[in-house]
């Protein structure tokens, strides 16, 4: 039996508790939050769980095997470092840390302590994303030409990370999950309308040497909610609309062929449009699969789908995005060791 402590009981907290409570051989022992009104919510819903105000009540508790950290990003590193130091497995909400240095230090520490360090990119566990992975790996789409994501709504402004860190983090994790190629470079632009230097609108482009181009359009100030990813292969194209209740993925059997000529301005393009199909996908709650993946990693030593490496790769891109923004959108080339 794995005894969990959860640090931070904000919007995501109740979902974490509910899903971890449902995992076999796992129980939530303690939840910590500084805010008394949050703690009282736990007591009323889950009288059996101990609620505490101090993180140390969890971090220093020898009866706790693993810690889930669901606090603002800027606090992740310190809490995770202490938790690993105390010999506990760690699950961090995304994005992993405030920068890649912190992420690398945690990875090193987890290695030393031989503990699981996992990052919760929940979307990787969604039935739709699993199905898209299956379609791409099965060769349905052919070579990928573009990945175009839009993620916008009104709210929730984050105080310490900009909208790309908050929202594009989801789509970047999906992009990395779907393709094997490493990104070559990143451009980002954006705008802060709140005077605190935190962009609430952000646009990012990721370039690949294969010709793939990825684009991200994120906003906290859109009146319409939108969560879509469009993926174009040279055989088929996929449209993923995460707000559709059931029909989340459409596979378009369409494309184009071109022939160039010696003459300038002479290109002949043939377009092909065919059937569309909407594959059935699993509607199992992604967070429950994620929770089970974490517990499994602890108990059986398996590598989680959303592991520390995938968490770090997302960080690298977000860090490059910040560098680009600070340099007026200049291209930032990523160095991969």
């Amino acid at each position: 039996m794995i005894n969990l402590g959860i640090i931070g009981y904000g919007n995501w907290g109740p979902k974490l508790v509910r899903n971890f409570m449902a995992v076999d051989l796992c129980t939530v022992k303690k939840v910590a939050d500084q805010r008394k009104e949050r703690l009282s919510l736990i007591s009323s819903h889950y009288p059996a769980i101990e609620s505490v105000q101090l993180n140390d009540d969890i971090l220093n508790d020898p009866g706790i095997d693993a810690v889930v950290i669901s606090t603002p990003i800027y606090t992740h590193y310190e809490i995770a470092r202490k938790a690993l130091g105390q010999g506990k497995h760690v699950l961090l909400e995304k994005p992993m840390t405030s920068n890649t240095d912190q992420a690398l230090k945690l990875i090193e520490l987890a290695g030393e302590k031989q503990k699981v360090l996992m990052v919760d990119h929940t979307l990787l566990y969604a039935g739709a994303v699993q199905k898209i992975k299956e379609l791409i790996d099965g060769g349905e789409t052919g070579k990928l030409n573009y990945f175009d994501s839009t993620r916008m709504n009104l709210g929730l402004f984050q105080p310490d990370i900009n909208v790309l860190w908050d929202l594009a983090a989801h789509d970047i994790s999906v992009l990395n999950f779907l393709i094997n190629e490493k990104p070559y470079s990143v451009h980002s632009t954006g705008k802060c309308h709140t005077g605190n230097g935190v962009e609430n609108i952000g646009y990012m482009t990721i370039n690949y040497q294969s010709g793939l181009i990825a684009h991200f359009n994120c906003s906290w100030i859109s009146p319409v909610k939108r969560r879509v990813i469009l993926i174009g292969g040279d055989k088929k194209m996929i449209f993923f609309n995460d707000l559709e209740p059931a029909e989340k993925i459409r596979v378009y059997d369409c494309g184009y062929k071109y022939a160039l000529n010696d003459k300038k301005y002479d290109i002949k393009v043939d377009y092909r449009t065919g059937d569309v199909y909407i594959p059935k996908i699993s509607h199992k709650e992604a967070l429950s699969t994620m929770a089970a993946d974490f517990v499994n990693a602890i108990m059986k030593g398996t590598t989680p789908v959303s592991n520390h490496i995938s968490g770090l790769e997302v960080m690298r891109i977000l860090e490059a995005s910040d560098n680009s923004m600070k340099n007026c959108g200049r291209e930032v080339v990523l160095n991969h060791l």
Copy 2:
């Protein structure tokens, strides 16, 4: 009675003929196209219109008062120069020319010859865009924070201009029409998947010193057709979906207020969501209003809504976009005289 000659009878040609035929005090006398199969289409639909293969049959015809140029962009300058030289009024399909130098020369020539030089940014005449202009000018939206457009479908690849010149041209003309501020700088990235150096996917950001940010996402290789513009003001926000048959505009009475604190990472944001309303708009065909505007400008000396200045302003931005793309997305600052 204004006698028109139309040069180029491609996809847009039949619509031009139909709409100009319906304008009072105007008739289409000749249509020129090099392709015999296009000419035979005219003869069958409009036996009264003379169809010719050589542009000069129009340009040198003293019975023709005005020329509509609907040919590939790279031919615009030469044809328009000749037409103005022959003392004819000129309407150019968008975008105006291949570069701003050409545009400036045509503007100068039109001034010398005292002829109308107009660019057909049809979208400016659409009921939806007219209504959005009215809402913004009437103060409904308040100060604008963003303008976010997406224009994508499968096809029609252009041989001589990239997807931003082809598609974003529409949205840039709308943006310029709606706001009075001059843009400060432009970033663009994109990708060509056809080996001819013409980007079929393009992303552009335009920055303004007021804090407004404009973004454009254009693609010729999307399986889904999408033509939307989202406009965010600090009072209200507007969603314009040009593919909706009737309900093209939604006005959202929503927004946010924020309060900063001395403490880092401490921002309090209040969100407000209210009613949405869908104003009734005119469904008159935009092209017919554009055609009448051109004829009016010739006959009465009025300034068309979509005039040579608005055509030139779109060119400036597209040229800066090209410069940015050639320089790996670097910010290109626009100089306005």
Copy 3:
């Protein structure tokens, strides 16, 4: 070469002219309408077509081979009778006549005169309906359980026929086209809100002995336009939305199985949901195929898809519907010879 005369140049008139003009070996010679403003429209668009005010200018013209009748329904019988009497082929806009007696007399007369008598149920020629026919005939849907159509919008009130005659006529023709079984009985209810005894809202149910049930919901006073047909088979189900620009048909691989028990109130039902697919359909204009079908029938003696028998079958159901409405919605059993 078939010389056509078209009687009635209302909303549908220009479409008929355009499409018949485009059929090989067929030309529109004359168009008749009592309203001068309608005739002047023809002259301006099609100077080569003679426009006349009197129907007899067409009916008595020996140079006219075939007549298309696009006038109010209550005039159909007299005009068609004269036309057949003059040895002309006849195409009637739907619904065929004001009652089945008239329809039967016309059919008899056409037989005597050996002329084509056809009814224009255009929807039968639509790519979507052709595809649905193909799917059902190919066994994809299995045995049909229901057919559920909704056709509503604001306007156009008809003066002489109620909303079921006007709108359900389309869907009944499709239903008859798709299945081979004869209907057993009809129920209809409705309401007139305009004081002239012509129902502007109508609901009809058609029962079949096989267990198929068909329902029709029609309205001229709905603020939303809707044109959908849902078809449920025991293998697959089809959703046809005629307002979708491209993706008009969705085929759902879903269903249910049930097991009854001896115990009352004990039924076990298993539901199955699978992929959805959206077949590519032809987007050729249905009216052009209909026009060619009429010309073909005249020239080669083929039986049109939308022939006088299918026209009559629609009439039988509409007449039963009227009987049901007049008798407070009582079931009206259809007698088939």
Copy 4:
């Protein structure tokens, strides 16, 4: 403090428990269900609630003040009778009972015992329905001409009541809530495809002497889920789509005016279309307001919105619907005392 017992822990059970637990001065003491697997669910989620297999453990418990009955309809009457007999307040899930006789007996018994007898028509408490009520009562729609509801999906077949009892019950309750006029007559048709005499497709029309007509289209075997109500007044029309996550109601400022003439077939109709607006509605969970309404009725003697009278009125219509179905769709006139 009101101590509740809940009888029946099916699909709706967990929602009832969660919502009643959240009502002030109310607690769920016991839940009864014959199925052990359902009881074990309660124990795991709510260890503080006692779970029992026998209804009598609740009905005979003097510590329980009120009973919520969420079992198949055919069991409602017996359980409710016992509960009232034991002096407990009763909340019945909709529809109230198997017939109006049972409903009338329970109402009489509740009167004798001076206990609250309430029926849970949850939809009446939804923000959208409350807003529609406000719009109609405020005169926005003018005189109502029609009410047209569609409620369909795949599943859940009920064993003892047909699809109109199951699904139309919601819409009938809304209709009765919105208008004051008593219905005049009912027609229903439908079809059973499962051999047990329980219709899985049903169509019902309700006629009113004022000219209002109401229609209901219900199905358990539709591949698409649909929950819409269209309401047409002579001033404005309302479209309510309960599947829209936020924009559930659209108010159309449209209509028509007509002028009749002495001449037959001469009606002149003018159509008017204007703005559409989407009012903001409360997104509070309807079931929580319903739960509070029940507790309030017990504690303060208030009349619940969804009370025994509204429950009975729904029953009367459903009973007439059954009579109509059994008589081949014949009109059944309702007698109101």
